[in-house]
């Protein structure tokens, strides 16, 4: 035997806690088809019966205003679920029961869970669960989700409602005022006469009185649908005439009327001297003066923890990875396959795997902020600022996280409820300058603006913020217009999060990162590897083999020269040496000569290896120019020439698409200093300076680096969070266009006035 259970309830009612308590860790996270609303499912066994559980998104109503509400309604209206478990925050009964009235009307077998009974007791609320059950016509189970109190009883009730026919039948209707009830009756009859297949005919009637669009579209397909809709129109006019309001508002008020009536019969509110802890905490955390500084402190701590704490395991992964790559390349003979595996696959995917600690720590902190209830306060505190770009206050968190890394930041946009807000935040996030761009700034600004490097870098960060704000304003007035929702936000009571749910949340999101980023990064890394590996045979202008031979010969002869000079001076010296007390080889004059010789010899051989290394790197640079990647750079050179860029910048920017910090190592290769350079490398700095790049072009290059197409991992995250390629390609195209325009503006106007040339 197997039953489908759907868990429904308001946001912040502890729904996920109950879901976790029911299913344990056996959960799967996916998306509802067509929308980026998380779909969580799990299962459990109880007395030889299997229960598949779906955790529906938290909603206040089934009005289908939001993507979440639509998902819940569609799922409940089709007949997949055998039993609906409605979680209710017992300390906030009245508003929570609003959804319940709708669930009752949907007519599904229902089990009502009074969660957070402990908090209700603290508030001085005594709830008579049996009376409530009678009034609502469904079993009511009091539980405390956090401690697991009452969960076994809940499983028992779910089993009984699933299996016993008598408990499935629903006898209770939400009763409405007489004038409404008579109109419902008329519609109800008409629907039953015309379409016997409609199992929710009372629900349909009520929805028609609410002028619900979806229901009207469905009824239109019924037999005599037009008649029913005509009657609906007449009925709505009648009740609107009586109650002087719109049909839906009348029905909603009537639902609350029913709830208030029910609560009068089953809730006793004793005047206990309870302390509202949440309110006390908020006296500090959202205080007029302290609210912002404390939030700032929390943000700083989050940053610190994510990047500092994360850097420790990051080093381990890095070390492990290098060892692993060496181990594999030691195992395999040098071949194309070995290069693909080591440099392409392990190197490429590894470059992203290094970020895993950061991402997990960040998701853990976000889970902490969400589960504790502080996230709602963040929205409260920051809404005034984010409202400027017509965003919800919560959107601030992903924006600030973008300074660290855009990938977790974009995944963090899940905390936003409206899809439009999510997309807008995702699209402007890449302009927040992530930490991977910093090495590029340090290198280029250090090379061309040694005295003002800090100012230049700071200006780039500011430019990024301005680009984000400007684009946000632009998008909200054009492509994402009119989808904005009013700010209606519940500030739920603070809760002590359970470790288990924190880890579950962290893992769910982190796993998505591993899964999706892994595939895209893998493909991208292989592509870049292919571009850099082929063609395997290249023709070079210079004969490096003979140059190397000449160089070696040259130094060898210099070394031989040095040695013979030393020998002859020693001979000369020995003849002039007369003391018989000490052997010549121990004399001070010999030791002096010997030391001199050693120094010269060392200097010469280190000079030799330097020269050979430099020659080798020039060769690598030349080879790169001939590889596909260099040819691609050449192809794009005409496009970037108006910006003052050469094929080198073009290659650097293309490889920067994999990860922006790669720009630095690409320059290392191109200027023949080696791949293994950091932003302080003198070779690259002098290479850049002597390449003919002017400070103005350098500035333009920095602007371009800041704004252009986000890295591959970010693109993957954008695809994942917006769910469409359309927004992904838009984001790529838009940022390229913006980068090009602004970089061109820098080069062009700077050139006009002969700045920095």
């Amino acid at each position: 035997m197997k039953f489908n259970i759907a868990v429904a309830g308001n946001p912040n009612c502890g729904k996920t806690t109950i879901f976790n308590a029911l299913t344990g860790a056996k959960q799967r996270v996916g998306n509802w088809p067509g929308v980026t609303v998380e779909k969580k499912s799990g299962h459990y066994n109880y007395s030889d019966t299997k229960f598949d559980v779906i955790d529906l998104p938290g909603t206040y109503s089934l009005a289908a205003f939001s993507a979440e509400e639509t998902v819940v309604r569609q799922y409940l209206e089709n007949d997949e679920a055998n039993v609906v478990v409605n979680i209710i925050d017992a300390s906030n009964l009245e508003r929570n029961l609003f959804l319940t009235t709708q669930l009752i009307e949907l007519g599904k077998p229902l089990v009502i869970v009074l969660n957070m009974m402990d908090m209700a007791r603290e508030k001085g609320l005594q709830i008579d669960a049996d009376t409530l059950a009678t009034l609502l016509g469904a079993p009511v189970v009091p539980v405390v989700g956090r401690t697991g109190e009452g969960i076994d009883l809940l499983k028992e009730k779910i089993l009984r409602v699933s299996t016993e026919i008598s408990l499935k039948a629903r006898f209770i209707d939400i009763s409405y005022p007489r004038d409404i009830e008579s109109e419902i009756e008329k519609l109800h009859l008409l629907i039953q006469v015309n379409d016997v297949t409609d199992k929710h005919s009372r629900w349909t009637s009520i929805k028609l009185l609410e002028a619900d669009k979806q229901t009207r579209d469905e009824v239109r397909t019924h037999n005599n649908g037009a008649d029913i809709l005509n009657q609906a129109k007449v009925s709505i006019d009648r009740i609107e005439g009586i109650f002087k309001d719109t049909g839906r508002a009348i029905i909603s008020h009537a639902r609350y009327g029913f709830i208030q009536g029910a609560l009068r019969e089953c809730v006793v509110e004793s005047l206990v001297d309870s302390v509202d802890y949440s309110r006390q905490i908020d006296r500090v955390l959202t205080n007029r003066w302290l609210g912002l500084p404390i939030f700032g402190l929390f943000m700083w701590l989050m940053f610190k923890a994510t990047y500092d704490l994360g850097s420790i395991p990051m080093d381990w992964i890095d070390t492990g990875l290098v060892a692993f790559m060496n181990f594999i390349s030691g195992l395999l003979p040098e071949s194309m396959f070995a290069s693909l595996l080591v440099d392409g696959v392990i190197g490429g995917v590894g470059a992203i795997a290094v970020f895993l600690p950061n991402i997990f720590i960040l998701f853990f902190i976000i889970a902490l902020l969400e589960d504790s209830g502080y996230m709602a306060r963040v929205a409260f505190i920051m809404d005034r600022i984010m409202h400027n770009i017509s965003l919800h206050g919560k959107a601030f968190i992903p924006m600030i996280m973008g300074f660290g890394c855009n990938v977790p930041a974009i995944m963090g946009t899940r905390i936003l409820e409206s899809r439009r807000d999510r997309i807008l935040t995702v699209l402007i996030n890449p302009f927040m300058s992530c930490s991977a761009r910093l090495p590029v700034y340090v290198l280029v600004a250090g090379a061309f603006f040694p005295d003002n490097a800090a100012t230049v870098i700071f200006s780039l960060y500011v430019l990024g913020i301005l680009a984000a704000i400007g684009s946000g304003k632009l998008f909200s007035k054009t492509i994402l217009r009119g989808m904005s929702k009013p700010f209606v936000l519940e500030l739920p009571p603070y809760q002590r999060p359970t470790l288990r749910s924190l880890f579950l949340h962290t893992w769910e999101r982190g796993y998505l990162f591993i899964q999706k980023m892994g595939t895209v990064i893998l493909v991208g890394s292989v592509i870049i590897w292919v571009l850099g590996y082929f063609p395997t045979e290249v023709e070079l202008d210079r004969d490096y083999v003979s140059e190397r031979a000449t160089l070696t010969e040259d130094y060898d002869s210099q070394l031989t020269d040095l040695e013979s000079k030393f020998k002859s001076s020693v001979e000369k010296d020995r003849q002039e040496y007369h003391s018989e007390m000490i052997a010549y080889e121990s004399s001070s004059s010999y030791l002096e000569l010997d030391q001199q010789f050693q120094l010269l010899q060392e200097a010469l051989s280190s000079e030799r290896s330097m020269e050979l290394y430099s020659l080798r790197q020039q060769e690598i640079g030349d080879i790169t120019e001939q590889k596909w990647i260099g040819r691609v750079g050449k192809i794009f050179e005409p496009i970037v020439r108006p910006l003052g860029f050469t094929w080198r910048e073009s290659v650097a920017l293309i490889t920067g698409f994999v990860a922006k910090e790669i720009v630095v190592s690409t320059y290392g290769v191109l200027f023949g200093v080696g791949e293994d350079v950091d932003e302080g490398n003198q070779g690259v700095i002098s290479g850049l300076r002597s390449s003919g790049m002017t400070p103005l072009v350098a500035l333009s290059f920095l602007v371009f680096t800041l704004l252009y197409t986000p890295c591959l991992a970010t693109v993957a995250a954008i695809k994942r969070e917006t769910g469409t390629w359309a927004y992904t390609f838009f984001s790529i195209g838009y940022s390229l266009a913006l980068a090009y325009t602004l970089a061109f503006a820098v080069t062009y106007f700077g050139g006009l006035f002969n700045w920095l040339s």
Binding site: N92, A211, A226, S252, N287, A379, H387
Partner: protein, 93 residues
């Protein structure tokens, strides 16, 4: 077939004790007369418990003066001042 679209709901503020929710100061209480604004906004708020005659009090304003924190039906809700302007209340003590 039918036009179910409705015009925006206009607020009727006549009594001098009647004011907009946005005019209440922290600590003050009111009784909701009606919620105006677009139909979807009104319905959302009614569904969240801002029903006619419901008691509502202003707990505080956010550090940057907007939005505001309200208490209605025993829970805390936050609205922007521009949205609170669309709600007519009668001040009570």
């Amino acid at each position: 077939m039918f036009n179910f679209k409705r015009p925006r709901h206009k607020l009727h503020i006549s009594d001098e004790n009647d004011l907009r929710l946005s005019d209440l100061k922290p600590g003050e209480k009111g009784r909701i007369i009606e919620v105006g604004g677009s139909e979807s906004f009104r319905l959302r708020l009614i569904e969240m418990g801002l029903t006619r005659d419901a008691e509502i009090s202003v707990d505080k304003y956010a550090p940057l003066r907007d939005p505001m924190e309200l208490i209605v039906k025993g829970y805390h809700l936050s609205l922007r001042g521009m949205d609170a302007q669309k709600i007519a209340v009668k001040r009570i003590n």
